[in-house]
Each structure stands twice: as structure tokens, then as C-alpha cells.
């Protein structure tokens, strides 16, 4: 299985690996996947409460090259986006950008889930209700 150049680049030079302070009210943490499945992503966002903009994003991932690339790319996209725009990120965006083959589409779905989980965590911490998302549609 050949990896796309972008996947290889994200793997060798991952963007925004790290940890934000979970205890801060404006940090949202999404932890998705499971060790038994071979894929666990932790995506964190730091939000400017006044503007609703994501000012920082960090990730850590247990998973294959495509999973690492998807979550790394997610942090790149999230920085500087509003929460509303972040909610619009769809798994197919990852598939297209990274040229993921069919057998790796589930990695992109997990990345989309991680974004939504991080946003929901931020919402709940700030007195809002978590958004109920429909089951991700795998194209």
C-alpha cells in the first residue's frame, strides 16, 4: 500500500503534537476511538470565548500513518477557524486532501468525530448542551 506524499509528510513532520491544559474552561478535549480498534485520537482546542475562534489546537494519536495524518491535518485546519466553521469539517475533506484509499476512510471519520467531540466538550464545560450529531455518513 503506497501512502500519499501528504500522509508521509504529516507522519514525518506532524503538526501541533502536544497537550493543552484540560482544566482550563476554554479548552475542549475530544478523545475518540479505542485501543482494541487500533485507533485512538485525542484532539484538543483552545477557544477565545469572546470571538468563538479556535486559537490553538493540539493532537496525540495512537494509530496508523493515515490516522496520524488525519488528526495532524485536523489541528492545522482548526487553528484560526470559528467553531461554526469547525463543525462543518467533513470526513471527505480529509480523504480528498490526503488521498486516503477506501480501506483508510475510517481514519477520516474518526478525525471528524474527534473535532466534534472536542467542540462538544468545550460547550458542556461552558454551560451549553452537547450537540447531537447524526451517525457519520461514510461516502
Amino acid at each position: 500500500m503506497a501512502y500519499s506524499e501528504k500522509v508521509i509528510d504529516h507522519y514525518q513532520n506532524p503538526k501541533n503534537v502536544g497537550t493543552l491544559d484540560k482544566s482550563k474552561k476554554n479548552v475542549g478535549t475530544g478523545l475518540v476511538g479505542a485501543p482494541e480498534c487500533g485507533d485512538v485520537m485525542r484532539l484538543q482546542i483552545e477557544v477565545d470565548d469572546a470571538t468563538g475562534m479556535i486559537t490553538d489546537a493540539k493532537f496525540k494519536t495512537f494509530g496508523c500513518g493515515s490516522a496520524i495524518a488525519s488528526s495532524s491535518l485536523a489541528t492545522e485546519w482548526l487553528k484560526g477557524k470559528s467553531i461554526t466553521d469547525a463543525l462543518a469539517v467533513d470526513n471527505m475533506d480529509f480523504v480528498e486532501e490526503l488521498n486516503l484509499p477506501p480501506v483508510k476512510i475510517h481514519c477520516s471519520v474518526l478525525a471528524e468525530d474527534a473535532i466534534k467531540a472536542a467542540i462538544n466538550d468545550y460547550r458542556v464545560k461552558n454551560g451549553l448542551e452537547a450537540i447531537k450529531f447524526d451517525e457519520s455518513v461514510v461516502h
Partner: protein, 405 residues
Amino acid sequence: MLKFPIYLDNNATTPMDPRVFEAMKPYFLEHFGNAASRNHSFGWEAEEAVSYAREQVAKLIGADEKEIIFTSGATEGDNLAIKGVFEMYASKGNHIITATTEHKAVLDTCKHIEKLGGEVTYLQVQPDGLIDLKALEAAIRPTTILIAIMYANNEIGTVMPIREISAIARKHGVLVFTDATQAVGKIPVDVNKDGIDIMAFSGHKMYGPKGVGALYVRRKNPRVKVTAQMDGGGHERGMRSGTLNVPGIVGFGAACELCRLDMEEDTKRISKLRDKLETELMKLEEAYINGSTEHRLPHVANISFKHVEGEGLLMGFNKNIALSSGSACTSASLEPSYVLKALGLGDDLAHSSLRFGLGRFTTEEQIDYTIKAISETVLKLREMSPLWEMYKEGIDLNSIEWAHH
């Protein structure tokens, strides 16, 4: 001077020994006859070459040349043995005993036998990969016609107690078949000392050509027969029809002879390299060896690096080092290794495993490079792993409610 990529996946296949290649060459363009052509020198020469190879193969395993049937490989041998016995001994019974860690060629054939109305018991293995002999004996019924247990496992290298298994089988009048693909040529295998009745093995795991193998079928004490699965001209004593792959067989014979002559020295050298690789990698935190370390092939190591995923790990160096992993991501089916699962390993450790298969052409320089590359990649990926961070913080990962997808 290191040449890349380094090949450490000798359980999957082996490079051909140049001496084997030389032995095969004349049989493509010059001595190309069909070994069954009785009436001219092309046929006679081919037949002689096959005969010679048969002796070479037999000598490696302590058999008589009349007991060697040439096949296209171990998968065909497994099929011929299991289906062949099932058909031949149908009047005696229809029950076969095997194990959950067998190669797919055995497991799938057993599933086929079940569809035909046969009964199969799939014995569980212990956490070290070994068969429980008491459970084996307890599983034998009056209708049992075959015990099919591999000599050595392809993923974890565990060597089964074949002599003890055959002693039990003899006691109950049951035939013993073993898929010895990973063992023949690497460790001493003797069909008489080991009490084996039928045995399959393959050329391309022993520095020989792909597409050729042998099935050993005992002729004395007891005399065993298998019903042919390939019908046709009656080749190989009526047990396997089809024009013989003469150059392949010549290469296979040469490969067997080289293994017989070089085995002791090769083993000494390779096992030292394996031990060095393993000792150094085990210095990493949270590294685990899978399978028995006592009853194991001398050139294999299967190691899990907790909190790091196998395919991600391989990507760190797969341009330079060829290995395989038990991770789901590396299999077409997205299922983690069933062998590692059968050991009782959690899926997370199965996903984190690497299999090392050293071989005749492995050098110390290659091992030193590998130790460094893997150690560095494990450390780098652990820095990126949320599981590693949680483990370091003292969080019990088993207590977490994971958001399954």
C-alpha cells in the same frame, strides 16, 4: 556497506540462495524435458534430476524418497493431507483435531471439511502458544482420524511438542499430520524420531523457489495413503497428478541439501543475532515478547510495543526495513492477528506487534541498524501517543469508557 531495504520478513518468504539458482538454471533452457516422457533422453534427464532432488528432500527430514510427493507448496500439501485423509479414511471416522493458531491453509481446509459433514475440534492454546497435551488427549474420540498441529508457528515462532503429540496419537491409533513449513530446514525435523505420519513443507521458506513444496506420506508403520485432490495422469504414486515442475523441484532439492549441511552453523549465528535484537529492544519500556521463549524457532521474534500502533511503527522505517505486524491496519480484512488473539493478548497489544524473521543472509550490521531505527521510532511515536501519556500519568486504560465508533 548496508544495502537497503533490509529484509527481516523471512517468515513470509526467503530470498533464493544463489547456489539454488545455479542448480536450477540448466533445467529451463537446456534440460527442459517432461519428467514423465519415458521414451527419450529429455525425459530421462528430467526424471533423473527429479529423482536426485527427491533424495535430497527425503534426507533432510529422515524419510525414504518413496515417501516424498512433490506439490506446488505447503498450502496444497495442507489441502491434500487433510482432505486426502478425510476421504481415504471415511470408513474409520470423520473427526479431525487441530488448533486455533494454525495457518489459514489448515483452518480454511478444516472449515471445508465441516461443510462436507466432517467434525473438527479447534483446540485453544495456552498464553505461550503451546498446546495443552491433556486437552488434546481428552478431545480424541473413537471417530477421530487425524490430528493436525503445525510444527512451528509462522507468527510467533512457537515450536509445538510434536513428539508428545504423536505419542498420544499413536496410543489412540490416530494419524498425525503437521504443517512444518516454518520448521523444516531451520531446526532438526525427523519424521521417524518425531513420530509424524504426514508432513507438508515448502521451498520458498528455505531459500528455494516459490511454487514448489512436498508432502511427506509415511509408507511404513503405518502405511498411510491420501486420496488425490488433483486427478489426471496419476503422477506421484497416484496421489498428485500434474506435470512435475522440474526446475522448481531441482531447486527445492538443492535448497534442502544446503539447509541440511548449513543448519547447525546458520542456527548458531542467526540465533545470536535474534537474541541481540530482542535483548536491545526489550530495553524499551513496556515491550513484550509474544509466545514461548523456551520453545521457539531460533530466528523469530514477535514483540509488542505497548501504546504504539504497528502500522504506524512500520511506516517509520518501511522504506529501509521489511517487517510485518499483527496490527489490523496491516491486514486486508482490518482484523488483528488471530494468532495473537488466540494467545489471549488484548487487541491493543496485537495492534502493537512487530514480527521479526531473521535468515541466512541477515548480518549483524543490519541488526544494529534495525535496533536503532525501531527504538527511535517507538520513542517518537510514544511522544505522539495519547495512550502513552495516560499510562505515564498513572491512568488505568482499562478503566476508560472509550467512544467506540
